[in-house]
């Protein structure tokens, strides 16, 4: 028995901010004091509050230390672990009250969260199967194999109301029943862990923090649909996730939880891991299967649907990581429990990756129906630096944005679709008044142009033309007619593309046009970028009242665009100016302004 457990986050965020060195230092300090029999250091998955990494939690007290440095470790060990005195200066300030220490669950960041898919992340050691088993791991699989027929398992999943968390929101139970209905000598289960939406990292955190729950869920899916083999297709950019998944698969095989005759039930199931190689389109289910087969990841026309002819031409069920992560809990707690959370048509919880201009960047899991305002202002802690909220982008390059006026919309699949947005996989990027919405639309179009596989013309050529139009707008060369053309082309691409990538690629443009049309108009009619982002439209000038004539800016200007004598007001020649902004950085008197 250990008297104390020290949990250190080993997710990608905290690993990047050097948590491995902290674990090493901890183990050394603990050993130096001969405490290794009393205190256990556990490297866990992601706690969610990545902005404050590296993160460390000490139990039984539940002390939440944030932004820990290697140099802090001796103090923590000496004071807290040896002498029992909490090091208050290192605690996450939200958890420090006047005379006491609050538990993490009571902080604004965690209070409104409800963790189902992330329940074990940041709690267990993901590289140790026994910790997963201690938290009811593989009980759901045992229950399915011993107590339920495959049809009953599908019925439970259907009754729970679980919908695909990858973005589409297709009912999971229905998907499983389609594959189950097709007879074949071989069927497959595929887990889509090709989290391509830039700014989303939910799936990565689940794989890093709780890989066994994905294995268990895939085995359950295999049993329900009649598949004996599964593939996990995971991004090569996630080395920690890949490694932990491989360790987990190996352990599951050793424990007989994968392989032949699992739990003496006669059911066989095994898993393979395949790495992606950086292609966004491979998140599309048919493209992903083409890629697993070793080809260029181009999508295939549907029908035939994967449930009929999927991977290697066999009936296949494909679900996203987060979808699978819900399955064991649904089996253990029942469909009614799951359906009791969320809204009318969107049940359960959803994980969002909060990023961009927000104080608490990180991972949050909330019941469906929570409003954007609650997520941003309460859980996310609001916008830093006193700036104003402008919009939240969801669904990545396939999604849209939610403006401030719609912040009280309860978030679920149908509400987001109704406002021209989409749930997407869960990336939620917050933008403030310094972000130009035309520039953001251009950013996503740049992405889709790069990632369009080239198979169908509407997407390959259409997205490129869209990008050119946006370039024209941000360069101040467009006319109001171009705006209509832009909209027409968007609708054409949506209607005619082969796969989800093209069908949704115009969404960022359409959504920003819908909610921020005035910004487009300002770029076109006033030749002005209200946020001051679009370089071609920014104009630098010197405020005559503030300029002291120190010549600092003129000396720094790389284009010799600034003229003026010593102690006299300087001026900028806008024809020569290359808009690098050096003058603005250099001026000590705040005399250079940008508009």
């Amino acid at each position: 028995m250990y008297r104390s457990h020290v949990l250190v986050c080993g997710g990608t965020g905290c690993t990047s901010s050097n948590s491995p060195a902290i674990i090493e230092a901890l183990e050394k300090e603990i050993a130096d004091r001969g405490l290794q029999e009393e205190i256990k250091v556990v490297r866990t998955g992601c706690f969610g509050l990545c902005a404050l990494g590296p993160i460390m939690i000490v139990y039984p007290e539940g002390c939440f230390y944030s932004q820990v440095k290697v140099s802090d470790v001796p103090e923590i060990v000496e004071e807290h672990l040896l002498k029992g005195r909490i090091v208050k200066r290192l605690l996450y300030d939200e958890t420090v009250t006047m005379d006491d220490v609050k538990s993490l669950q009571e902080t604004d960041f965690y209070k409104k969260q409800h963790r189902v898919a992330l329940r074990n992340c940041g709690v267990i050691d993901p590289e140790n199967i026994e910790e997963y088993i201690a938290y009811d791991g593989y009980m759901a699989l045992a229950k399915c194999l011993k107590e339920y027929t495959p049809q009953e398992v599908i019925q439970i999943v259907s009754d729970s109301g679980l919908r695909g968390r990858g973005g589409g929101g297709f009912p999971t139970g229905k998907k499983w029943s389609f594959t189950a209905a097709n007879e074949a000598d071989q069927k497959y289960v595929v887990c889509n862990a090709d989290e391509g939406d830039p700014g989303a990292f939910m799936d990565r955190s689940v794989l890093e923090g709780d890989p066994h729950c994905i294995i268990e869920a895939m085995a359950i899916c295999g049993y329900a649909t009649g598949a004996s083999e599964g593939y996990v297709y995971v991004r090569a950019e996630y080395p920690i996730a890949v490694k932990r998944l491989q360790i987990a698969i190996k352990q599951a095989r050793e424990y007989g939880l994968l392989g032949k005759n699992i739990f003496d039930s006669g059911f066989d199931f095994d898993l393979h891991v395949r790495l992606g190689a950086g292609a966004f389109v491979c998140g599309e289910e048919t493209a992903l299967m083409t890629s697993i087969e070793g080809n260029r990841g181009e999508p295939r026309p549907r029908p035939p649907y994967p449930a009929v002819k999927g991977l290697f031409g066999k009936p296949t069920t494909e679900n996203n990581v987060e979808t699978f992560a819900n399955i064991p809990q649904i089996i253990l707690n029942g469909a009614d429990w799951f359906a009791s959370m969320g809204t009318e048509r969107s049940k359960g919880t959803k994980v969002f990756a909060l990023g961009g201009k927000i104080r608490n960047t990180g991972l949050v899991e909330i019941p469906m129906g929570t409003t954007l305002r609650e997520i941003i202002e309460e859980i996310g802690g609001g916008i830093p630096n006193g700036k104003k909220f402008k919009a939240a982008q969801t669904g990545g390059p396939s999604g849209g944005c939610i403006p401030a006026s719609l912040m009280d919309t309860p978030i679920d699949y149908d509400n987001l679709t109704a406002i021209g947005c989409m749930m997407g996989s869960g990336g939620l990027i917050v933008m403030d008044e310094d972000n130009c919405m035309v520039d953001i639309a251009k950013f996503f179009l740049n992405f889709t142009v790069d990632e369009s596989c080239g198979k169908c013309t509407p997407c390959r050529v259409g997205t490129k033309r869209l990008l050119e139009m946006l370039d024209k707008i941000t360069a101040g060369k467009a006319t109001m007619e171009d705006l209509d053309k832009l909209e027409d082309l968007c609708n054409y691409i949506k209607a005619n593309s082969l796969c989800g990538l093209g069908q949704t690629a115009p969404n960022p443009v359409l959504a920003t046009l819908k909610f921020f049309r005035e910004e487009y108009v300002a770029h076109i009619q006033d030749r002005h970028c209200p946020a001051g982002v679009c370089k071609a439209l920014t104009v630098y000038s010197i405020d005559a009242d503030k300029c002291r004539g120190c010549t600092a800016c003129a000396r720094k200007c790389p284009a010799d665009a600034i003229s003026g004598k010593v102690k006299e007001v300087h001026t900028i020649d806008t024809d020569k100016c290359i808009k690098c902004g050096v003058c603005m950085e250099t001026c000590k008197f705040g005399a250079v302004t940008k508009r």
Binding site: T12, G13, T15, S16, S17, L49, C50, A51, G53, E195, G196, D197, P198, G199, A200, F201, R204, A236, E237, Y238, R274, L275, G276, A277, G278, A279, F280, S291, I292, E293, G294, N295, R296, G297, F312, A353, G355, G356, K357, T361, G362, Q393, G396, G427, I429, M431, N435, I440, F443, F444, F447, D450, C453
Partner: protein, 165 residues
Amino acid sequence: MLKKISTIPFRGTPEQAQRLQAVIEACKDDKSQLMHVMQEAQEIYGYLPYEVQVMIAEGMDIPLEKVYGVSTFYAQFSLSPKGETNISVCLGTACYVKGSQQILDKLSELLGIGAGECTPDGAFSLEACRCIGACGLAPVLTVNDEVYGKITEDDVAGILAKYRS
């Protein structure tokens, strides 16, 4: 994305060829392992020059044009060698809204090369990548495998100096 194809002569060693052959030997009966073999090959050689693609095509008994097709499809596969120090700036959404484009521009200015290029002496290469999932630390760049988070334009010169010998 159009790939830059290297004109630098191939300098593979027999040891590298041997390691690749071992990978091919283990995978050649399952053609769906092509991408895995190519990933291993890139690990061994650092990139996938024509000569390596030929070895893979012959070893796996897969047409060269298919190997080439796969290598040009996926962003991860590189047809030109990387510098001794490879700098990769994340242009994922979270990093972009926090100004990673300016970081990339600054690096490009300081190194005198664009994204996807390598300095003539082979010391530095620069690339843009899409989200490494460390969005909580945005904006992020990686130098070889080391991650630098929450960086500003002013940090860039200091980071470069660490790797200039």
